[in-house]
């Protein structure tokens, strides 16, 4: 990893970097700013998926309530930088604070469920996610904290070094609308999360997580502190979720409980599983594909029906989700290990297959 950065890899690295830097201009120029917005969301989902990947992919703890941490981050930012309470703290206070809160919630969830495994863990985390959402939905009376189902409006955009990311700016004759500015901010933070995740994966902690995933008893016998290592996974996963939440809040300017439904948790899990669990590149691919694909379907299905059938046979929104559901099933049947599985996972799948073949 350290020495192998030869010239070929370096070249690829620089090419990717340049491509990512000019991406909003290419996408915005070709398809319009609404697509840059979708790319921004893809980056948010990459952060979320990488966060959940720490819990599910690395440590093997199935978490179906991950969106709760996203919500905690988003609401922390929203409450501390909006007219709702009249507090307008800067983002470099609120986003880290949101991330810390999210990590705290991660430990809060992690502590009672230390003894649970598999499906039991999944259902408890799911319940936790629902509880957080129900509270956000109802904490508008008798004291109005979250403003209930209406959500919080007019959230401050992020100001970086005196530049308001919520209004377009001109730089060297280039006009940069907010979606472009947020793109670069999100990109920077995504890169940070990617670095964090990959450093963790190859560290002592990462190996401890793998050991935990493979066999908890053996890991414990090898001197790994199961409790701490589990809580660390929950906390670090939640941390990335919290950061993404704060960014979402600022970017959107509006949060409501509706954005944090169980379906969102499931989507993020689907990103990981479809992309290739435990493999950072796979997870990124999964997050990007699952964010972009439904949007492409949205743009394609309507016109396609008009052209081939001459009328709208199926409502595009309906058709889009239908295709999405079917694609999820087909993908899992064809390639249950995901698009880009990690080497270790691939080996595990092969072992399982061989064992099944021997059995049958």
């Amino acid at each position: 990893m350290t020495k192998a950065l030869d010239s070929k890899k370096l070249g690829l690295f620089i090419a990717c970097g340049i491509a990512l830097c000019v991406l909003p201009f290419v996408v915005g120029g070709a398809l319009g700013n609404s697509w840059v917005r979708i790319v921004d969301f893809a980056l948010l989902y990459v952060m979320l998926a990488l966060g959940l990947n720490i819990v599910v992919g690395f440590a093997g703890l199935l978490d179906l309530g991950f969106i709760a941490f996203y919500a905690v981050g988003a609401y922390t930012y929203a409450l501390l930088s909006s007219p709702h309470f009249g507090i307008h703290w800067p983002f470099y206070v609120t986003i880290p604070l949101g991330a810390l809160f999210a990590a705290f919630f991660g430990v809060l969830l992690g502590t009672p469920v230390l003894r649970l495994k598999g499906d039991y863990l999944a259902i408890v985390t799911l319940g936790f996610g629902e509880i957080v959402r129900i509270f956000m939905n109802n904490l508008n009376a008798p004291i109005n904290i979250t403003n209930g189902p209406q959500g919080i409006n007019l959230i401050d955009p992020i100001h970086v070094a005196g530049v308001d990311l919520g209004t377009p700016i001109s730089l060297f004759g280039l006009n940069l609308p907010p979606v472009y500015l947020y793109y670069y901010l999100f990109l920077a933070l995504t890169v940070l999360v990617v670095i964090m995740a990959s450093r963790l994966q190859h560290s002592r902690i990462g190996r401890a997580w793998v050991a935990l995933r493979e066999d908890q008893v053996a890991a414990s016998a090898m001197g790994i502190n199961i409790r701490n290592i589990k809580l660390l996974a929950f906390a670090l996963g939640a941390l990335s979720g919290g950061v993404a939440g704060g960014l979402f809040s600022a970017f959107q300017g509006f949060v409501s409980p509706e954005s944090f439904s169980l379906l969102e948790s499931i989507m993020i899990l689907a990103m990981i599983v479809l992309g290739g669990m435990g493999n950072i590149a796979g997870v990124i691919l999964g997050a990007v594909v699952l964010t972009i694909a439904p949007e492409i379907l949205r743009d394609v299905i309507g016109p396609l029906q008009m052209k081939t059938m001459g009328r709208m046979l199926i409502d595009p929104e309906n058709a889009r989700m239908l295709l999405f559901g079917i694609a999820m099933v087909v993908m899992m049947l064809v390639r249950p290990e995901g698009m880009l599985p990690s080497k270790r996972r691939k080996a595990e799948f092969k072992d399982a297959k061989d064992a099944a073949a021997q059995k049958g």
Binding site: K117, D119, A122, I123, N138, M328, A356
Partner: protein
């Protein structure tokens, strides 16, 4: 005190419906060790099919009493849902048997989304009212009132659950199911056709789900393409609460959850001095679930948790 009994009765009605759905989850889990996340959608389809048949019959002007029309609707919904359960298992679960655990979970979720969208295609996005056919007279028990329909629901649930338990304990099919759940390989060696048993389990669970769907639709007088989600989640919670894989546990968990929920909704205002209202009803299910799993991770009636994860 009247409120107390009233809430207990409401909880009993709600709980017996949960129990019926929870049986579907727990049977599948007992045999295959996986969560059939699409089960809530089967319940929704049951309600929808029944409503469709019932509306068709009432519009065609057949001269039948209300209960007979609903009965015909239910009798159509049961095989329809059993077929759906059969297809679900064939398409989404059978090819993945023996695969890593998360794969069937994702196919189940994908199927769930697909089925919801199919429901939108057929029945649209709006709430569909259940025709007012059933006797809605109330009877009063110790100062609390309950409709005759609700009494019917509870009685029918008890009969169905008892029938299922007898079937699993006494019949050949039941014995084969128990054997498959203990060890599919050995069951296969003993001459049990494991595939048939798994299909039968899915169909049985889905048939019960169809009945539960009709009950929900009649009790609330409406159905909706998204109704399967929350009720499925609650029923699954009930199954875990009782100890998943255990039939008696699913029944106990369902009824307990129903009662806790309605008591909680009735009293939360008083308990918190008006701070939290009955809109927190949904929280109870999850709170109870978390507490039970912390203190008794295998559920109330579950055997000691196997290392299945």
């Amino acid at each position: 005190m009247d409120i107390f009994i009233q809430q207990i009765l409401n909880g009993l009605v709600l709980g017996s419906i949960y129990a019926l759905i929870a049986l579907g989850y727990t049977m599948v889990y007992g045999i295959m060790g996986l969560i059939n996340f699409a089960h809530g959608e089967v319940v929704m389809f049951g309600a929808m099919v029944c409503i469709t048949v019932v509306s068709m019959l009432t519009h065609s002007g057949v001269d039948l009493p209300g209960w007979a029309i609903v009965l015909i609707g239910t009798l159509v919904a049961i095989p329809a849902c059993a077929l759906l359960g059969f297809v679900i298992e064939r398409v989404a679960y059978r090819p993945l048997r023996g695969a890593q655990r998360l794969a069937p979970l994702i196919t189940a979720i994908g199927l769930s989304i697909t089925l919801q969208q199919v429901a939108i295609l057929i029945w649209g996005r709006n709430y569909i009212p259940f025709p007012d056919l059933l006797n809605s007279d109330t009877v009063s028990i110790m100062g609390a009132s309950i409709t005759k329909l609700q009494v019917m629901i509870v009685v029918l649930c008890v009969v169905l659950m008892a029938g299922l338990l007898v079937m699993v304990e006494k019949t050949k099919l039941g014995r084969a199911m128990r054997a498959t759940s203990q060890n599919p390989t050995v069951a296969g060696l003993m001459g049990v056709n494991v595939n048939t048993i798994i299909s039968a389990t899915f169909m049985l669970g889905s048939g019960l789900g169809a009945i539960a769907g009709v009950m929900v639709a009649t009790n609330y007088s409406q159905a909706h393409y998204y109704m399967g989600f929350m009720i499925g989640l609650k029923a699954f919670t009930a199954a875990v609460l009782g100890g998943i894989g255990n039939l008696g546990g699913a029944v106990a968990g369902g009824i307990l959850l129903g009662i806790i929920e309605s008591l909680g909704a009735g009293y939360i205002g008083q308990l918190t001095g008006g701070f939290l209202g009955s809109n927190y009803q949904d929280i109870f299910a999850f709170m109870v679930l978390i507490l039970v799993l912390i203190f008794r991770p295998s559920g109330l009636l579950g055997e000691k948790m196997a290392d299945r994860a």
